[in-house]
């Protein structure tokens, strides 16, 4: 065997180890993450328990300006579409929980806010940007993935959520 190719094989292997193979895209089933409430109760949740509802899962952090901008839309959607079956879930990814609490004091959230303490949920979703939003239909299938937030996109998000709410779940 030609020994000259050994370093190149090592390099390819090493680079390969740094690449991720898992991805959560539209069409995949939503990961069943274990989350905890951000308040003092620290109640545990699993995303599976919301099956049958349309989920709007939003990953956010206190240091992310577009996340703060998106809170008005999330509050509005929760207020208007909750009764129709929409569950808005904000998953906080702050490394320091106090930062999230200070942020929530400044930007109150009327929707469900949970913490992903060990960031496993973010890894399962393969979050690529802050904020990242996932619209999940009543059957637990991710239908739309959106990276980032710009105020002009609020109408589009709402229309997509309403479209999913109009669909009936498939009984399995």
């Amino acid at each position: 065997m030609n020994l000259r190719i050994v370093p190149f094989l090592c390099a390819a292997l090493a680079l390969g180890l740094t690449q991720k193979t898992q991805a959560t895209d539209a069409g995949n089933e939503v990961p069943n993450c274990a989350l905890s409430a951000i308040d003092t109760t620290q109640q545990s949740y699993a995303l599976k328990q919301f099956r049958g509802k349309v989920l709007y899962v939003d990953f956010w952090s206190s240091w992310c300006n577009p996340c703060a901008q998106s809170f008005s839309l999330l509050n509005e959607m929760n207020r208007d579409l909750k009764d129709k079956g929409l569950q808005v879930i904000g998953i906080n990814l702050d490394e320091v929980p106090e930062d999230a609490k200070a942020f929530l004091a400044k930007h109150p959230a009327s929707f469900t806010v949970m913490a992903d303490a060990n960031q496993q949920c973010a890894k399962d979703f393969d979050v690529k940007a802050m904020p990242s939003s996932y619209l999940v239909d009543r059957n637990g299938v991710i239908r739309y993935v959106h990276l980032g937030f710009r105020p002009g996109e609020a109408k589009e998000f709402r229309a997509l959520a309403e479209q999913l709410l109009a669909e009936n779940p498939v009984r399995k």
Binding site: L3, V6, P7, C10, A11, L13, A14, L15, L17, T18, F59, S61, S62, W63, C64, N65, P66, C67, L93, D94, E95, V96, D99, Q119, A122, V127, K128, A129, M130, P131, S132, L147, G148, F149
Partner: protein, 74 residues
């Protein structure tokens, strides 16, 4: 000559072993990078004004800034 080749191969192998140490910073781990004092340009407005004045005087612009830092938010 052969010793040099072996030394070179060993060096490349060591460098290859270091490559997995170059990890991506996950989007949710950029809280410290998002802090204002981590920005390469501490005062973007002042820099923009200075660039504008410089461009007006010199009749040429560009090459005066570098990007970096920040939360990488979309």
């Amino acid at each position: 000559m052969k010793t040099t080749q072996h030394a070179l191969s060993a060096l490349i192998l060591v460098l290859c072993a270091c490559v997995p140490g170059c990890a991506n910073v996950a989007p949710w781990e950029r809280g410290n990078l998002a802090k204002p004092h981590m920005a390469l340009n501490p005062d973007p407005m002042q820099s923009a004004l200075r660039t504008h004045l410089y461009g007006s005087r010199e009749a040429s612009t560009g090459g005066g800034a570098a990007s970096g830092g920040g939360c990488g938010c979309y």
